[in-house]
């Protein structure tokens, strides 16, 4: 294969790594549950871009699209359930700050 796809992979890859760092940092540095979910979403965006890029470079766009559609459906379900859990926690503790959620502390 020519050099160009490798270069494309390389510079897309740099941005995918940087976006992943943004998401991971958001999850690690925050104490707010909703913001942690937003950080997780950013990580999923990086993964989505990587799958689409792999599909584009290998010529398997159909398979990549099928995988991304599955990923999006699972992502939405996960967001709905985790949003419900956050609301449930807020109702019982009046906070979504993880430092104050110590009900299960051993």
């Amino acid at each position: 294969m020519s050099v160009e796809p490798l270069q494309l992979f390389w510079y897309f890859g740099i941005f995918i790594i940087l976006i992943s760092i943004c998401g991971a940092y958001c999850i690690l540095a925050t104490f707010n549950l909703i913001r942690a979910l937003i950080g997780f979403e950013i990580l999923v965006k990086a993964a989505t871009l990587l799958i689409i890029l792999a599909g584009y470079l290998t010529g398997n766009q159909a398979l990549a699209q099928a995988l991304v559609i599955t990923l999006i459906v699972i992502e939405v379900v996960m967001m709905v359930v985790s949003g419900g859990i956050v609301l449930w926690l807020y109702r019982y503790n009046q906070t979504i700050d993880t430092r104050k959620l110590s009900n299960l502390k051993g």
Binding site: F12, F15, C26, N32, I38, T48, I52, A64, A66, V80
Partner: protein, 163 residues
């Protein structure tokens, strides 16, 4: 090539703003913007079906879910917001430094990985792959959707019992 680069920079900036902004609603708007830019990139990479899904579901539905969740929680007072702004500055000033350092390090590596991409055997359209080859995925999606619906019903059932 250049347009791809501009879109990637915009994507990174949108993700960066999503992480750094203080108010949660603005953060959700940033996330929707990230999704919208990502869907344009996906369209340019020859995946229009997934791009439409990304734009409608991730940029639309997930933003609605987040805004609904935020609207059910209490509003932050102005004093708390000032304190939080200070806390975030202390906590998040590392992020741009890390990003710039990682970006420079990766650029200086500057050698594309040496491997060959496998060549696709048969070119098919997304619909036939999704419905014919990946039908177990569809079954999994249905199961996950039902599990999610069941989870939400359980969560809101407890709320009903309390009243």
């Amino acid at each position: 090539m250049n347009l791809n680069l501009i879109l990637l920079i915009a994507l990174l900036l949108a993700a960066f703003w999503t992480v750094l902004t203080i108010r949660l609603v603005r953060s959700v708007v940033g996330l929707a913007l990230t999704s919208a830019i990502l869907s344009v990139i996906m369209f340019r990479l020859g995946s229009p079906l997934a791009a439409v899904f990304e734009l409608s579901v991730c940029s639309g539905l997930i933003s609605v879910i987040f805004v609904t969740t935020i609207s059910f929680t209490s509003r932050v007072s102005k004093e708390r917001l000032t304190v939080r702004r200070r806390e975030r500055f202390v906590k998040f000033w590392y992020l741009p430094v890390i990003l710039i350092a990682a970006g420079l390090a990766l650029m200086h590596l500057s050698r594309p990985p040496v491997f060959k991409f496998p060549v696709a055997s048969v070119t098919q359209d997304a619909q036939s792959v999704l419905w014919n080859l990946r039908h177990l995925d569809l079954l999994g999606q249905v199961v996950v959707l039902l599990a999610g619906a069941f989870g939400v019903v359980i969560l809101f059932k407890e709320k009903k019992d309390e009243r």
